[in-house]
């Protein structure tokens, strides 16, 4: 009996995702333009790191291959998040506009409907970057490739949880779309640099307020070392952020004020 809602929810989520993917692919030209240019964009950005490590070889124990893994995990995770759960980025605006009404009257879980309501084509470019960089980084030890894919999935889950958490603050703080987006940008920015650069209080911040550690450093560490402690820490951190996002969103729903809209953005 208890499994039925979960299975129904999964079926519903996969139907939503499939519909969104079809919608993305319907504009074939725009889809390929966005996806291929995002891949090119990421590769061009990584040139800076190629130049850096060509000149300096290593920075606090990090070499080019380590950066490849880190970049693969962050880009792949962010890409997967955008492809499957891009709707999370619209949440604060919808709360501010009182646009959740059409979602709340439907029988399916509202958060699931929201996060799976959008899929961005550029996300495929990020995801492709992740897979390509991961295959380059693990070319000499193929056993690490499945770990890399698991790390990308974990990173995507934390990206989704962070987005929901940040955007849900709009329930109490009003129009915070720009700030919520910027906080997510900070997570990506910090996540793309070697973790060994940050110590002390900043390191604590990077595993709590701006969880760059859980979208980049820790999943990358898991791929590099294949260690059980890294896996356990990654699992615990991911579970914690998912639980926190769910609690904050559902608490927020209690104070949500309807915009009395009949149509909606969803």
């Amino acid at each position: 009996m208890r499994r039925e809602p979960a299975i129904g929810g999964l079926r519903y989520a996969s139907a939503l995702v499939t519909t969104n993917l079809k919608a993305s692919l319907a504009l074939r030209g725009a889809f390929w333009l966005q996806a291929s240019f995002m891949l090119l964009n990421n590769v061009t950005f990584f040139v800076t790191w190629l130049i850096f490590f060509h000149r300096f070889n290593e920075v606090r124990g990090w070499r080019l291959d380590d950066m490849l893994v880190l970049f693969a995990v962050v880009a792949g995770g962010y890409g997967l998040f955008n492809v499957l759960a891009g709707g999370a980025l619209q949440l604060a605006r919808a709360i501010g506009d009182g646009d959740l009404d059409p979602i709340l009257v439907q029988p399916r879980p509202p958060l699931l409907q929201i996060v799976a309501s959008r899929s961005t084509a550029s996300g495929w470019g990020d995801l492709a970057t992740g897979v390509i960089f991961l295959s380059l980084a693990t070319r000499s030890h193929l056993a690490a490739a499945p770990l890399g894919l698991a790390a990308i999935v974990a990173s995507a889950v934390v990206f989704t949880a962070s987005a929901v958490l940040l955007q849900s603050l709009a329930f109490w703080l009003g129009r915070i779309e720009v700030v919520a987006r910027q906080m997510l940008e900070f997570q990506i920015t910090f996540g793309l640099y070697p973790s060994s650069l940050f110590g002390g209080a900043l390191r604590v911040v990077l595993y709590t307020a701006i969880p760059a550690g859980f979208v980049g450093y820790l999943p990358a560490e898991f791929v590099r070392t294949a260690s059980l402690p890294a896996l356990a820490a990654l699992f615990a951190g991911t579970a914690f952020f998912v639980a926190l996002a769910l609690v904050v969103f559902h608490r927020g729903l209690r104070v949500y004020e309807s915009g009395s809209r009949f149509g909606g953005v969803w």
Partner: protein, 268 residues
């Protein structure tokens, strides 16, 4: 356009610039986010350069030099409004076609608006960026005259960025989505302009190639002034920026002419 028409249009352009400035003031959250972003990037790279310098891998440079270099390059990249997004939005909503009958050409009006917004951003971001430079760079560069020259050169460099954004925005008339072109332009600016790493760190062949592009004049040009004042080099960078701004203005005007024909052909 005759001299008389130009003199009549000047107040209109100033009004557009004032409008852009007011709009920029109104977008406080975006400005605050950009200020925070400057602080984050400087914090990250102060750590990167500290790690490099502690191993003595970059002789002759201090952490302050390298952090202040990024202060200047980031100022250029963060001070121009995203004109391409506005052009794209105008195209999608039909506003662009609706504004065609106005006496001031659409592209010129949008450029004037962006220039006004850019001036406000520069005025607000500069003190913040300089403060962050002093904090994260653990001081100021040895030759402050270089910093002053760099700040002067930031203005024409940001103008070049505005022109680039206008050209990218106009590409939406053919591509329908200008963002992918912007991503590539931005990352080329990172890589060939030396946004985060001075070109002296690059392999010689790549640095030599990068210097032929507008990106190097736009970012590395003003940025390297903080390493110490060199009058000849400053004049060379100013000349390069003047050249690329003129070339950019001609290119935008040409693109706008093509865009007008495309709009007339397709009926808007």
């Amino acid at each position: 356009m005759s001299a008389r028409q130009r003199s009549r249009a000047t107040p209109a352009y100033l009004a557009y610039a004032a409008l852009g400035a007011r709009r920029e003031f109104a977008g406080k959250a975006t400005l605050a986010a950009r200020m925070l972003f400057v602080a984050v990037i400087l914090l990250v790279f102060s750590r990167v350069w500290a790690a490099v310098l502690e191993r003595g891998l970059l002789a002759g440079r201090t952490r302050a030099d390298l952090v202040w270099y990024i202060v200047i390059t980031e100022l250029v990249m963060l001070s121009f409004p995203y004109l391409h997004l506005e052009v794209e939005a105008d195209l999608r909503s039909g506003d662009l076609v609706a504004r065609l009958p106005q006496p001031v050409p659409y592209a010129a009006a949008r450029l004037a608006e962006s220039a006004g917004g850019m001036a406000v951003r520069l005025a607000l971001l500069t003190p913040m960026a300089l403060t962050c430079g002093a904090v994260f760079g653990a001081g100021v560069p040895g030759d402050l005259r270089g910093v002053v020259v760099a700040l002067v050169l930031v203005f024409p460099a940001a103008c070049l960025a505005v022109l680039s954004s206008a050209a990218i925005g106009l590409s939406a008339i053919w591509l329908h989505d200008a963002s992918p072109v912007y991503w590539i332009w931005q990352k080329l600016a990172f890589a060939l302009g030396g946004l985060l790493l001075p070109l002296e760190v690059y392999p010689h062949w790549l640095a030599a190639a990068a210097r032929w592009t507008p990106f190097a004049a736009m970012l590395n040009g003003p940025g390297r002034m903080v390493f110490g004042l060199d009058g000849g080099d400053a004049a060379r960078v100013a000349g390069q920026l003047l050249f690329w701004n003129l070339a950019g203005a001609v290119f935008v005007a040409w693109l706008w002419g093509r865009a007008l024909r495309a709009i007339e052909t397709s009926g808007g």
